[in-house]
């Protein structure tokens, strides 16, 4: 364990009552914050302070607190999931901050993700994109023996890397166009790399891209901000693969 020390921080938080209401920044002071605490434990402490003063706590999404469920979000000091690489906000620790620092905390800001309250946003659009084609169309109960399908370790590992997307939405939040291409391409790639997914590859690529467009996400202009900020390091080469799959599908029409 690192050496524990204590910080005082000023937390500048976006507060917004509802999707249609005007929001504003409010600054709160939190003292004696241990460097061993996670960022959310600091937020818990702040919320306890607020509740004890009979104010409403800051609403933010969080659940597993170990970087896998994809529930947490937040722009912290101008970066999705904060100032460390390849982590989610729940894996961010206070040892990354300085004493007397002002920490700016904002929700994902994107047309695709309307604010529900404070820092909590609505990401149901992501589910809708997956519903358009993020699956293999097989019913339970009829599968052949698992080892009947041989898959090279290289393909399996690459498919796993694509499949590691946690659906947090950092890619959309980081993108100046509000594009969901990294998210969509991760799923399309996973299936395009595996024989089980090839059967419907064309239909899937078209359907998921069409749904993404319908839901108001922007286009990709290869800025690579998504790749930089992805907590699971999902690579932009997935987008290249999605483009190939999409063009292949369109040419076959």
């Amino acid at each position: 364990m690192g050496k524990e020390s204590f910080l005082n921080v000023n937390v500048k938080v976006w507060r917004q009552r509802g999707p249609k209401e005007k929001g504003e920044f409010k600054t709160y002071r939190v003292e004696h914050v241990s460097t061993e605490m996670s960022f959310f434990e600091m937020m818990d402490t702040l919320n306890e302070q607020l509740i004890n003063k009979h104010e409403e706590p800051i609403v933010f999404d969080h659940d597993c607190r170990e970087g896998i469920c994809g529930t947490c979000s937040l722009y912290i000091n101008g970066r999705p999931h904060g100032i460390d690489d390849a982590i989610t906000t729940c894996q961010l620790h206070m040892r990354k901050f300085k004493n007397e620092e002002t920490i700016t905390v904002e929700p994902w800001r994107s047309a695709g993700f309307p604010v529900i309250r404070d820092l909590m946003v609505d990401r149901s659009a992501f589910d809708k994109i997956q519903q358009a084609g993020g699956y293999t169309s097989i019913n339970c109960g009829a599968a052949q023996d698992a080892n009947a399908i041989l898959i090279s370790k290289v393909d399996a590992d690459e498919a796993m890397d694509s499949a590691s997307c946690i659906g947090c939405g950092a890619c959309v939040a980081a993108c100046k166009n509000g594009s969901a291409m990294l998210f969509v391409s991760a799923k399309v790639s996973q299936f395009a790399l595996l024989p089980q997914g090839k059967v419907e590859a064309a239909r899937r690529a078209k359907a998921m891209v069409a749904r993404m467009d319908e839901l108001g996400f922007g286009n990709c202009t290869n800025t690579r901000a998504c790749e930089m900020e992805c907590p699971k390091s999902v690579k932009i080469s997935n987008i290249a693969r999605l483009n190939r799959e999409f063009i292949k599908a369109k040419l076959a029409d």
């Binding site: 690192g2 241990s34 605490m37 706590p57 609505d122 339970c140 590992d157 796993m160």
Partner: protein, 658 residues
């Protein structure tokens, strides 16, 4: 003492015939529903994890109309997603002597002979179908260079039967179930209701006067409004109640609320005292900590667990004067390898946890709190090279480093046991139906398959077995009698009554306006649970714990403060409602632990141990499932014993030494 009854064995509805034929016979003779009728039947599934998500998707594929509910913002975020290490199946792809029987045997033995034979055998039987199904879905399991599936070993087994996808197996299996669910949502067979929390089940009497589950009351967590939903049957797959301890490896929203609600409506709660304490978690660091992080059991494939042999070395570690890697080989005590030569570092979780506690209680802990042991990879790195270790465990090492700021490639990890899983849960029969007709319970929420201790990589197996391969059959068998029953209106008085009850409870909570936050009371509950109903339990400690829990309930009703409004988004109210149910879960756990005068699996009574400190079971008096029946508010629940009758397996003392 609680009033005790012996349960009628017929209630368990175990099919006739030889153990290996029971499930085949059941499927051959069960009742079916034709496609036209399936469309007219509604099923509510509460929970979208491996059990709930898989059930909802599969029932949708079959043609039933499904309404699926989850408290998260998306079904993809259910806590099954956090499972790291893997999923067991009896494929015997490694040719190491595995079979359905051996998986069944290991699971019964691992559960310390406190699980029902017929259910466990079926679990082992369908385990292979699960792997086939997941591969067909496109789950990217780890593979060998030849293209076949890879396996690793887990605790409590001498074969390699665990399938995995890096350290993210739960994520990949859940996303598989989620993808099937999405396909059914798109087709219109499943309607998904996210950010909804079930707060009661609705029972309606049929023509014969039998009460059946016909709907639920939910709170919409965004609007705060109460909502009513009806169906012909209800499945509760809402996970475990480990968060009663406040600190656990569970996600923040995991709760025992749905289980307590249906317990109040007549479903029995079985073996509540069986909680799993996982041996390899990152140690507690301070009072403000919000949760504990698991380090996968798969790490015990290559990691070796040790503490110093010399007390003075331990003291220096505790004072931070030296680090683990500075202690020479001959001064290290690999206590699991020493005590359990046959299984070594891969003993089951309960055994490994108690052994860690024993060393730390004797003063050999290795961090500043004295509550940690080492999990060391230096040998594995020497043997396999850093790259191979990184390929196998890279994401777990990264997770560890982000939390602790320590590099596990260079210095041993520090770990300590933490609450991880609850084997106890709602009692179900062979068909996974509770003691309420039409109310089913699946996954961690039921008590079904793990006895007193769950083996690693078996939770994913059980969740998916229940969801993909058991409920689709047994629900159909139940619904075959219901094809004449029209859909239910939510305007019926039973719905109103249930909703009024929920509203009254919420108003009562909001009205307290005391001076303590929900979390401060929840933390107090956690301390009581860990101290009195934790790893080592005693009669006096449990009695004291029960008293404290009663007082805590009074504290809640006198001092809790919930800001904001009831009919709006209110995260503090969400937590307050769950906390009240956790206090009741805690009381049930303590009561059950107090009555079970033996040590078995995750339940260790200090009065009942061998001279070597191993758990001492009492098969003569306690070879049963302890089921608690709710008798009304403020009244003691009554105990029903489902006697366990082992036909196939010879009951023995668990031995992992030779």
């Amino acid at each position: 003492m609680a009033i005790e009854h012996i349960m009628d064995p017929a209630l368990s509805r175990i099919p006739e015939g030889k153990l290996a034929d029971k499930w085949t016979n059941y499927k051959a003779h069960q009742k079916l529903v034709n496609p036209a009728n399936k469309r007219k039947l509604d099923i509510i599934v509460v929970g979208s994890g491996l059990a709930g998500g898989a059930a909802a998707a599969t029932l949708g594929e079959m043609g039933f109309k499904v309404k699926c509910f989850c408290i998260q913002d998306s079904p993809r975020r259910a806590h099954s997603i956090a499972a790291q290490g893997g999923i067991n199946a009896a494929k015997n792809y490694q040719n190491d002597g595995d079979s359905v029987y051996r998986l069944f045997y290991d699971t019964i033995k691992g559960g310390d002979y406190r699980a029902r034979e017929a259910n466990v055998y079926r679990l082992a039987e369908v385990s292979n179908n699960i792997i086939d199904q997941c591969v067909a879905q496109g789950v990217p399991f780890a593979r060998e260079y030849g293209g076949t599936l890879a396996n690793r070993s887990f605790g409590g087994a001498q074969v390699s039967r665990t399938f995995y996808a890096k350290g993210q197996t739960g994520q990949q299996l859940l996303l598989g179930a989620y993808s099937s669910l999405n396909r059914q949502i798109e087709k219109g067979n499943v309607t998904m209701y996210a950010r909804r929390e079930m707060l009661d089940v609705v029972l309606i009497k049929d023509k014969e006067g039998v009460e059946r589950a016909r709907g639920i009351i939910c709170r919409n967590l965004v609007t705060g409004q109460l909502e009513r939903y009806s169906a012909h049957a209800v499945v509760v797959a809402t996970g475990g109640y480990g968060n009663a301890y406040f600190l656990s490896t569970n996600a923040m929203s995991c709760n025992g609320g749905a289980a307590i609600q249906i317990y109040h409506k007549g479903a029995m709660f079985a073996n509540p005292c069986y909680a799993q304490i996982h041996p390899t978690c990152i140690p507690v660091h301070g009072d403000i900590q919000s949760k504990l992080t698991l380090m996968s059991e798969s790490l015990r494939n290559d990691g070796r667990i040790w503490v110093p042999k010399k007390l003075e070395d331990a003291k220096r570690l505790q004072r931070g004067e030296i680090r683990g890697h500075q202690i020479p080989e001959e001064d290290r005590d690999y206590y699991l390898e020493r005590r359990y030569p046959a299984f070594g570092n891969l003993v089951p979780r309960d055994v490994a946890s108690r052994a860690a506690k024993e060393r730390c209680d004797k003063g050999f802990g290795v961090n500043s709190t004295g509550l940690a042991v080492f999990l060391d990879f230096s040998d594995a790195i020497k043997r396999l090279g850093k790259d191979v270790v990184a390929d196998k465990y890279g994401n777990l090492f990264q997770m560890y480093q982000k939390i602790t700021d320590d590099n596990p490639y260079e210095t041993p990890m520090m770990i300590y046991p933490a609450i991880h899983y609850t084997m106890g849960g709602i009692w179900v029969d062979y068909e996974l139906m509770t003691t309420v007709k039409g109310l089913f319970c699946a996954g961690e929420a039921n008590f079904s398959d793990h006895g007193a201790n769950r083996l690693g990589a078996s939770a994913l197996m059980q969740g998916l077995a229940d969801g993909y391969f058991v409920l689709p059959y047994t629900l159909q068998n139940y619904l075959a009698d219901q094809i004449q029953v029209p859909r239910f209106s939510t305007d019926l008085p039973e719905f109103k009554e249930a909703e009024d009850g929920v509203r009254a409870k919420i108003e009562k909570i909001m009205a307290v306006q005391g001076s303590r936050t929900v979390d401060s009371i929840h933390k107090e509950l956690g301390h009581i649970m860990w101290e009195h109903v934790g790893m080592g339990r005693t009669k006096a400690g449990l009695e004291e714990g029960l008293k404290k829990l009663g007082e805590l309930r009074k504290t809640f009703w006198k001092e809790v403060y919930v800001p904001g409004e009831a009919n709006s988004l209110n995260t503090e109210l969400d937590k307050a409602i769950r906390l009240l149910d956790f206090i009741e879960v805690g009381e049930l756990m303590a009561r059950d632990a107090l009555h079970r005068e033996e040590s078995c699996g995750g339940h260790f009574r200090e009065e009942h141990q061998t001279e070597e400190g191993e758990a001492k079971r009492d098969d003569k008096n306690f070879m049963y499932v302890g089921c608690w029946k709710y008798m009304g508010e403020g009244k003691e629940p009554e105990l029903y014993k489902e006697m366990l009758d082992y036909q196939e397996i010879k009951v023995q003392t668990r031995n992992y030494k030779s």
